[in-house]
């Protein structure tokens, strides 16, 4: 192992074709942050059109249409690509590719991932998928326009959809390679003494997430290939007989089923929601345990809940399809499973809330983001319940209420947790702490404006405003009473964008000027804090750690410190 670490590597081998999980994690992280910025930028452009319909977009208007006015078809492209980029190129790669890659081997005391080359292949497959997706903007008719859900037969019209599908095949392949690697690593490479019950909760969430990816993505990969065949090879997997588009019979052989796509898509895409949220819960748990200086309340409940959540996430998918007329028996089944799946979610959230009880909380930046995650995810989760019941979903389906709901889960939910994780583990990656003042300057406006963007969506949604209107509802009489919120939400979104500037400055500023810290600046218990900061290339630890304790031994009565690392042997 040491001989391996002493081998001199070229810059190219070390940072580009790297097989070190930490470098790959950073590659994932930086690429995903870049894509998140692109996705966010698309949204800011869309919000201009919603706030000020048919007025030229300042500064960047010439990219989006003649006279700087955003045309409806381009708005549709931006909407589809915003969702695609944020989910498949931004949040999942950051939550699983970056955090999972960087932290799982460290937290389990492993020198690297089980399959380092597979790990590199996973990143580069993701990278190629991302380039293809971005390239679709420059195709003749622009990027895909059929939403991130790509429902046929509408998705079978535009050329950009073909490129979207090819990109998806690469992205899915990347996720499959990465998740198999994480599962194998956790099962095989845990340090001596690291039993399942001593595993940090973050590792549990990564394990369950990886199982979700491994089991749920193959159907979508198959579906993507089938839809691709429908487009380029004249098949009709998702195209029914007698299909008429725009009054013209479509020249396809028919016999397929558009509903089949919806089933295959949501069979992935609902577990995908948990792929987005479980790593976030894991990160928040680590940060909360550390900054409350208490063990996580109900560790066992958390673990069993996350496993149950993973299992149940495979039997709720059709609650996205109540309007397809699949019948009351099927609807009833999926309503019941949806209500059941809310139970473990509530257990996890409750356990994290109870963990705060009686704690002497350190209100640093990662903790602020972690604390904000709890009510924000709570709002996102609870507003999902009316969507899980067919009777109310029929009214709310495809309105801004849905947009508000899932953005509360993913944006002030998952993304806040990811921010918490970046602030929390930055010292491990760089050996320096991020600037606290800039951190606070990032957090408070972000919290304020995040709610400014998404809270009014519930109001508009309850008023029946459709989520896909290019003009924000201007042409619909029923929307007239709630249109004033469009400008408010858009200004909030732009201010939210400005609020990210301190974060970007902080990342670069702290690289050189951040406070230098030792290997365990937060006085944490888990294994990653035993390694040097940054951990050693390829081997992580000077000597492989041995685990003697559970993950969160904070403030144990009778000890001389308020934390006991997992590596500290038990006396006697």
């Amino acid at each position: 192992m040491n001989a391996h670490s002493h081998r001199e590597e070229s810059f190219f081998r070390k940072y580009i074709w790297s097989t070190d999980h930490k470098i790959i994690g950073l590659q994932y992280g930086l690429t995903a942050l870049l894509f998140l910025s692109v996705g966010f930028f698309l949204m800011m452009v869309m919000r201009w059109q919603l706030a000020y319909p048919e007025t030229p977009i300042p500064f960047v208007g010439s990219f989006f249409g003649e006279d700087g006015i955003l045309l409806p078809e381009i708005y549709n492209s931006l909407g589809a690509m915003h969702g695609t980029i944020m989910i498949f190129l931004g949040v999942v790669p950051l939550a699983v590719g970056a955090f999972g890659n960087y932290l799982v081997p460290l937290q389990i005391g492993a020198p690297d991932m089980a399959f380092p080359k597979l790990n590199a292949a996973s990143y580069w497959s993701y990278f190629i998928g991302g380039v293809i997706m971005m390239g679709s903007f420059f195709s003749e008719e622009g990027a895909a326009r059929s939403g991130w859900t790509s429902y046929p037969p509408l998705a079978d019209i535009e050329v950009g959809q073909t490129i979207w599908l090819i990109g998806m095949v690469f992205l899915i392949t990347s996720s499959l390679l990465g998740s198999m690697n994480i599962i194998t690593t956790i099962v095989q490479l845990r340090a001596p003494g690291l039993t399942w019950r001593r595993l940090p909760f973050f590792v549990w969430t990564q394990l369950v997430t990886s199982f979700l990816l491994v089991l749920a993505f193959p159907p979508l990969e198959a579906a993507a290939v089938l839809q691709l065949m429908d487009r380029v090879a004249g098949t009709s997997f998702f195209l029914p007989s007698g299909l008429v588009i725009s009054g013209e019979a479509l020249a396809v052989s028919g016999g397929g089923s558009p509903l089949l796509w919806q089933h295959l898509f949501w069979f992935l895409a609902h577990p995908e929601v948990y792929v987005l949220i479980l790593p976030a819960m894991g990160i928040v748990s680590e940060v909360i345990a550390n900054n409350t200086r208490k063990p996580l309340w109900g560790y066992n409940s958390l673990v069993f809940s996350v496993i149950f959540l993973g299992f149940m996430s495979f039997v709720v998918w059709a609650h996205h399809m109540f309007l397809t007329g699949m019948g009351t028996a099927m609807s009833s089944f999926f309503q019941i499973t949806t209500m059941i799946i809310s139970i473990p979610s509530v257990i996890i959230l409750s356990a994290l809330f109870i963990s705060l009880w009686g704690a002497s909380i350190r209100f640093n930046t990662p903790m602020l983001f972690a604390l904000a995650f709890l009510p924000m995810f709570g709002i996102g989760g609870l507003t999902g319940l009316p969507l899980g019941i067919a009777a109310s979903d029929i009214y709310l389906h495809d309105t801004y209420y849905v947009i508000g709901h899932f953005h509360y889960v993913v944006a002030p939910g998952t993304i806040f947790a990811l921010f918490a994780g970046i602030y929390y583990w930055y010292p491990k990656i760089t050996g320096r702490r991020m600037n606290e003042r800039l951190g606070q300057l990032h957090f408070w406006p972000s919290l304020l404006f995040m709610n400014g963007v998404f809270m009014p969506m519930f109001i508009q949604g309850l008023a029946g405003v459709s989520r896909r209107l290019w003009d924000g509802g201007l042409e619909y009489a029923h929307a007239a009473g709630v249109l004033q919120w469009n400008e408010f939400m858009s200004i909030s979104a732009w201010l939210l964008g400005i609020s990210q500037i301190p974060f970007i400055i902080n990342i670069f500023f702290s690289l050189k000027r951040g406070e230098k810290v030792d290997r365990n600046p937060w006085e944490a218990t888990t294994l990653e804090w035993v390694a040097p900061s940054p951990p050693l290339p390829h081997i992580n630890f000077e000597t492989l750690p041995e685990v003697h304790r559970e993950a969160y031994e904070y403030s144990v009565p009778g000890r001389n410190r308020d934390f006991t690392p997992q590596t500290e042997p038990k006396k006697g």
């Binding site: 319909p53 048919e54 003649e66 006279d67 009054g247 290019w470």
Partner: protein, 236 residues
């Protein structure tokens, strides 16, 4: 200078009166005239406000003498080989206007490569969706701020539909030709195709509902006349 002028005049006279003729005719309908119902535009208040008169459906527009409007009459082929090999695309721009939430004109012929300007004279969102089989389909939104867009067609094509996906009653038909010998009948059902060299041709009259009819045509120095009579197609 004088010689040049006289020469030009002679060529002009020869071309216009000696070696080309106008094909004229009238299209009539034989049968019971159906009543064109008013278009129901209530879905978009802007459309209702923009229409001075209440527009009616346009799938069979007849005058009092049963002359059929909106028939596209064109030379289908030349039997005597008197077509030129190729014709330059005219610089004149063809216009298809969205005005009062109907297309004006309802039927239109253009040449390959000829610029077609699609206008939006209404203060509302239209969606111009062309459904050609040979040329490239396009589907572009025209919000009220977008007053004009220009398209061209690269290939010859029989009349195809152009529709608005926002206002389902809106429909127009465009035929694309390699030559300039086509015309659309006016309110009285009359048409004139000018500048055709003497020779033998096949002329076709196309109507969106009544179908097509063809006739052999001999054009001499004085031109030719070709009338067509359509009947209501039998239900299959």
């Amino acid at each position: 200078m004088k010689i040049k002028l006289i020469g030009t005049l002679i060529v002009f006279v020869l071309v216009n009166f000696g070696y080309s003729g106008d094909v004229e005719g009238k299209i009539t309908f034989d049968g019971k005239a159906p009543k064109m119902k008013p278009l129901r535009m209530d879905a978009d208040p802007v459309c209702v406000a923009n229409s001075d008169i209440k527009p009616r459906k346009e799938w069979l527009v007849l005058d009092e003498n049963y002359g059929v409007k909106n028939v596209l009459v064109f030379i289908k082929e030349s039997k005597s080989g008197s077509f030129a090999d190729n014709y330059d695309s005219p610089k004149e721009v063809a216009i298809l206007d969205q005005n009062g939430c109907v297309y004006v004109p309802h039927v239109l012929g253009v040449m390959v490569g000829q610029q077609l300007d699609i206008l939006n004279s209404d203060g509302t969102l239209h969606n111009i969706h062309a459904l050609p089989k040979v040329n490239k389909e396009f589907n572009k939104a025209m919000p009220r701020s977008k007053k004009q867009m220009s398209v061209t067609f690269d290939k010859v094509e029989a009349p195809f539909k152009v529709k608005c996906d926002v206002h389902p009653w809106m429909g127009a038909f465009v035929g694309v030709f390699e030559h300039p010998y086509f015309a659309v009948t006016d309110d009285s059902g009359s048409y004139t195709i000018s500048g055709l060299a003497p020779g033998k041709y096949v002329v076709e009259a196309w109507h969106e509902k009544l179908g097509s009819k063809t006739a052999d045509l001999t054009v001499d120095d004085s031109g030719a006349t070709q009338n067509f009579t359509f009947t209501k197609p039998k239900k299959k």
